[in-house]
């Protein structure tokens, strides 16, 4: 029986649950003996010119070894935005700010101490003169260019994807109904349990070794080399255990480079672990889009036109966030067949924390905009939102489907996912219960939200087709090692990669060691992000394992003095045997005795895959207080074949929780002066178990032909599907009272205010 598709328990867990992980701050590597500790001085002002930076008092404080300001690092090159060819290349950043600070949290200096406690005291003694400039927090303030963050750039616009002049006035010709709306997809904090950290030491050979929690050591190495102006071969990045990342630990940040620079400058190892306060103000945030939608169609429910205009907040320095409208536009029409559609986007800089990738990165925004638009359209024509969706979904397809926005959907049966989710939810019964509760007029009303999605996973990067490498080696003692270019931080690659190789090699899962995250050991790798790992990294492990069997077959033929063609590999015994003579056999492990037995292989996929599904959420809303409580979440997430249901469900659970959190609770808030108001967990309400129901997961597996495992990505489905489903459920609970929309997060105050306004409008129209 195949191990694939079974619920193999995570081989990672015994260690995590007993001795615990070893995170960067926990490292006791002797190379780090005698390390100094780096503490950052961060701007308390959103936008200012930097005057004098006086380090003298800090230098005199107990335990202070050194202190540096931006001027000390001025020789290092300015950091251009990633994808500088696409983004405004004049919006550069220094490792420590020199002329200007551009957000609260922008690092301006460091204090280096013998122990970390002394650093936190000493940074308070660094005296920086700031000459404040107006903050730019609001989208419209950024677009107005009245205050410009980067004078050289002459504009706050980072990049435009299309422009308003290209929009077609005739897009909605022939529509009986046209609805438009502007709403936000708010900024949220990734808030991983482990904050950022680094440990760095330079060897006598002039090479840097640095430990960084990240999502791919290779891209972190390349970023560090660029920031430190050294060759990538001079940098070794090692990835310890990583306590969550959600997109925000991809590559390396300026702080990581500063720690390495300090270590080189002082000639001793240096360490840094940021505080939770620092994490919430200076690790990249996610989302931060504003959408203006227009949707039109017939009164019987055919959607004929859809327009999406996106403004993306890139934060103070353009990073991956500024590029995200590209993905939002690519996925603008989702799983629907909409004859006329157009989407444009503009990214701007603001005096706030830079925006990066966050679970879904661009696709949740596309789904949220479209699903909200469909609900507004359904409400306008008085049709059940599920019926409107079914009527407009693309028909099932097995050959790739090309969309108007350049996406090539690999396979899909969107209506089947919708029907399956509705059935699992008991949709008709839910609507009946809702009707009776509305009729009874009770204080607590119920709403149902439905969200259909298709998303893109495992896309290629600038360098071309999506690929990943793996090395599989069998040892003489019957154990095996897998080296992977992916970089798990909770996903369970040790378990999954072992399952895949075990299936081919007949070696038990527990005999595998899976290694990643050391650029000297694994110089090439794409890391883990964009839900790419299993479909490329896992496929590479499978390919390497199959190739290893063929390599071993030659050795077995020699050992058994038989023709390779006459040998059969029996995974049950992990041995080759001569056909018809089972006693003439040799174990795979034995073939590694005289010569190492390993294969390095690169898997290349034909393209990205497009998982899809439907989420249904049920919420109750207290119509007096506005408080929403999530009662049920039912999802169908079709990500192709499932390798290990336990791992896949874990990915779905986490994603749904974070999606529900965005709809219900979470938002990074700044005041008009650019001061962060959500810089601790007392004010930034990350979701907890008490706010979530048990999730109901229905299964659906439509294989893809893009990799031999038949798998697509599952890591981000939760935030993509759940966010709009939960938001819609809350709005639906009060829709009969005249509410059409509530911004995310759907706080009690927002729901209450929407009810008050709807009630006032109802009264107005009655009296009119």
């Amino acid at each position: 029986m195949s191990i694939l598709g079974t619920r193999v328990l995570r081989t990672e867990d015994p260690r995590f649950l007993t001795t615990g992980g070893v995170y960067t701050e926990d490292l006791t590597d002797e190379a780090l003996d005698g390390a100094c500790h780096v503490f950052f001085v961060r701007s308390p002002i959103a936008h200012a010119r930097i005057g004098r930076v006086d380090l003298s008092a800090a230098l005199a404080a107990p335990g202070v070894i050194a202190a540096f300001s931006g001027a000390d690092l001025a020789d290092l090159p300015a950091i251009e935005p990633m994808m500088a060819g696409m983004l405004n290349a004049k919006m550069t950043r220094r490792l420590l700010a020199i002329d200007k600070v551009r957000f609260v949290g922008d690092p301006v200096a460091v204090v280096v101490t013998e122990d970390p406690y002394q650093g936190e005291d000493a940074v308070e003694l660094v005296d920086v003169d700031y000459d404040p400039l107006p903050a730019v927090v609001d989208f419209d303030d950024a677009l107005s260019n009245e205050t410009i963050l980067f004078e050289d750039a002459g504009t706050n616009v980072v990049v435009e994807f299309g422009n308003a002049g290209s929009l077609k006035p005739e897009l909605f010709d022939g529509c009986e109904v046209v609805v438009s709306h502007t709403f936000g997809n708010q900024r949220v904090a990734p808030a991983p349990m482990e904050s950022r950290a680094a440990a760095a030491v330079w060897g006598e050979d002039g090479r840097l070794t640095t430990w960084i929690p990240n999502q791919g050591a290779q891209s972190a190495r390349d970023d560090l080399a660029k920031m430190l102006d050294v060759e990538a071969s001079q940098v070794r990045v090692i990835t310890p255990d990583v306590g969550g990342a959600f997109g925000a630990k991809f590559g390396a940040d300026p702080e990581h480079a500063v720690v390495a620079w300090v270590a080189r400058q002082l000639g001793r190892p240096a360490r840094w672990t940021e505080t939770r306060f620092e994490n919430l103000i200076s690790m990249t945030h996610g989302r931060g889009q504003r959408h203006t939608i227009m949707i039109g169609g017939s009164r019987d429910g055919d959607v004929l036109g859809y327009r999406l205009e996106i403004i993306q907040d890139g934060g103070a320095y353009p990073r991956i966030g500024a590029v995200l409208p590209f993905l939002t536009i690519m996925m603008a029409t989702g799983p629907y067949s909409i004859p006329n559609a157009e989407a444009i986007g503009t990214s701007v800089v603001t005096t706030t924390t830079p925006i990066g990738a966050y679970r879904g990165a661009g696709r949740p925004e596309a789904t949220a905009a479209l699903e909200r638009a469909l609900d507004l359209f359904a409400a306008e024509i008085g049709m059940d939102p599920a019926d409107v969706r079914r009527r407009n979904l693309l028909p099932p397809f097995t050959e790739p489907h090309q969309t108007a926005f350049g996406a090539l959907y690999d396979s899909g049966d969107y209506a089947a996912a919708l029907d399956k989710a509705l059935e699992a939810a008991g949709y008709a019964d839910l609507r009946a219960e809702q009707a009776s509760r509305r009729a009874s007029g009770g204080t607590v009303q119920m709403g149902i939200g439905v969200s259909c999605y298709v998303e893109i996973t495992g896309g290629g990067d600038e360098s071309g087709a999506p690929q990943e490498n793996a090395t599989v080696e069998v040892h003489p003692d019957g154990t095996a090692t897998i080296l992977t270019g992916t970089s798990p931080h909770g996903q369970g690659h040790s378990t999954a990669w072992a399952m895949i190789a075990s299936e081919e090699l007949g070696i038990p899962v527990e005999n595998f060691t899976v290694r990643w995250g050391d650029t000297d050991l694994i110089p090439v790798g794409g890391g883990t992000g964009g839900s790419r790992s299993l479909q490329q990294g896992g496929a590479a492990v499978q390919q390497a394992s199959k190739e290893l069997i063929e390599l071993a077959r030659e050795r077995a033929a020699a050992a058994l003095e038989a023709s390779a063609a006459d040998l059969q590999f029996d995974p049950g015994r992990s041995a080759f045997a001569v056909a018809g003579d089972p006693d003439a056999s040799v174990r795979l492990a034995d073939l590694a005795k005289d010569e190492r037995l390993f294969v390095h292989s690169i898997f290349t996929a034909p393209g990205a895959t497009f998982p899809f599904g439907t989420h249904v959420a049920v919420a109750e809303v207290d119509t007096e207080t506005g408080k929403a409580v999530l009662r049920r979440v039912i999802t169908v997430d079709d990500a192709g074949l499932v390798l290990n249901p336990l791992l896949a469900e874990g990915q779905r659970h986490g994603g749904i929780a974070q999606g529900a959190a965005q709809a219900l609770l979470e938002e990074v808030v700044y005041d008009a002066d650019g001061n962060p108001l959500t810089a601790s967990f007392a004010d930034y309400p990350i979701v907890s178990a008490t706010e979530l129901p048990s999730f109901e997961l229905a299964s659906m597996e439509t294989p893809t032909s893009y990799n031999p495992l038949g798998v697509k990505g599952i890591g981000e489905a939760g935030t993509i599907g759940a966010t709009p489903a939960v938001q819609s459920a809350i709005i639906d609970a009060v829709a009969h009272l005249g509410v059409r929309h509530v911004e995310m997060p759907t706080t009690p105050m927002r729901v209450w205010r929407a009810l008050v306004e709807a009630s006032a409008q109802g009264t107005d129209s009655e009296s009119a």
Binding site: P116, Y117, E120, D121, E124, T275, R276, F277, E624, T625, K627, L665, V669, L677, T678, S680, A682, D683, P685, V687, S688, T690, E691, T747, P748, M749, W752, R753
Partner: protein, 269 residues
């Protein structure tokens, strides 16, 4: 997230703690459960030079009966308050309030005296004490004085405690079998109240509707005059001037105060 440097002294008795307090004056802060003080120190919103730890002072903990009142030692933990059969029988509102403070870890560390002396207007126990019409014993080298809950809370994180005074005990009237209502409005289970309302015996207290836990006096008067719960609750926000934050503006807080007061009163009737 590391406090500024400070000295630490473990008090051996209440008298010793008071002696230390008078010795160090304003430079000292009393440490009990530490679940309000330590976060403030880590955020450097508080930077006392000396911490006087009273957590292990035996004569400051415990719950006893003194005539018509329960006497609760200042270092009694929320979890002990919530599970005390004595408190559940004679002051169930207080036991309920204690069961809602923070999360289980906080309830096993935080103390009633610490919560009251911290005087966060959004917290459970200050509102509960005002609703119950309780009082606190404040002890100094010069002796002990009794201050009514209504007079104890002086402002945002401010109380009637004088320098050199230690909150040593809490007194609440025993009211076995008297109906009560308690409403705490939160977004997440372990949050501070956006608004709270507690009602018993014609008294109504509100959390987070001003710089101190306040009485809804207009509503209380209406009740005394025979108004229905619904009619009285409409007056619950009269005279309040709540603060504004990312959760609620003034109008929403006042609306919540009316709704929660009505629900608390309806729970009684």
């Amino acid at each position: 997230m590391i406090p500024a440097p400070f000295d630490y002294v473990a008090a051996e008795s209440a008298a010793h703690a008071i002696e230390l307090l008078s010795q160090h004056g304003d430079d000292a802060k009393v440490l009990a459960g530490g679940h309000s003080l330590l976060p403030m120190m880590k955020l450097r919103l508080a930077a006392p030079e000396v911490l006087i730890d009273i957590a292990r002072v035996a004569d400051l903990a415990g719950i006893s009966v003194d005539g018509d009142e329960l006497v609760i030692g200042a270092t009694t933990r929320h979890a002990d308050l919530a599970s005390s059969e004595l408190v559940r029988a004679d002051a169930p509102l207080l036991a309920h309030a204690a069961s809602l403070v923070g999360d289980p870890q906080i309830r096993h560390r935080g103390t009633i005296g610490g919560s009251l002396a911290h005087a966060d207007p959004a917290a459970d126990l200050p509102m509960a004490l005002v609703a119950l019409g309780g009082s606190v014993e404040l002890t100094s080298a010069g002796g002990t004085r009794l201050v009514a809950a209504d007079d104890f809370f002086a402002g945002f994180f401010e109380t009637a405690l004088e320098p050199g005074e230690l909150l040593t005990a809490v007194r609440v009237p025993r009211r076995p079998g008297v109906a009560w209502g308690y409403q705490k409005f939160v977004r997440r289970a372990n949050d501070w109240a956006i608004v709270g309302a507690a009602a018993i015996d014609g008294r109504i207290a509100l959390a987070n509707m001003g710089s101190v836990p306040v009485r809804a006096r207009a509503a209380e008067q209406a009740l005394a005059d025979g108004a229905s719960a619904a009619d009285a609750a409409r007056l619950a926000a009269d005279g309040t001037s709540p603060g504004e934050d990312i959760h609620a503006d003034r109008a929403f807080r006042q609306h919540l105060a009316r709704v929660l007061t009505r629900r608390a009163l309806e729970h009684i009737s």
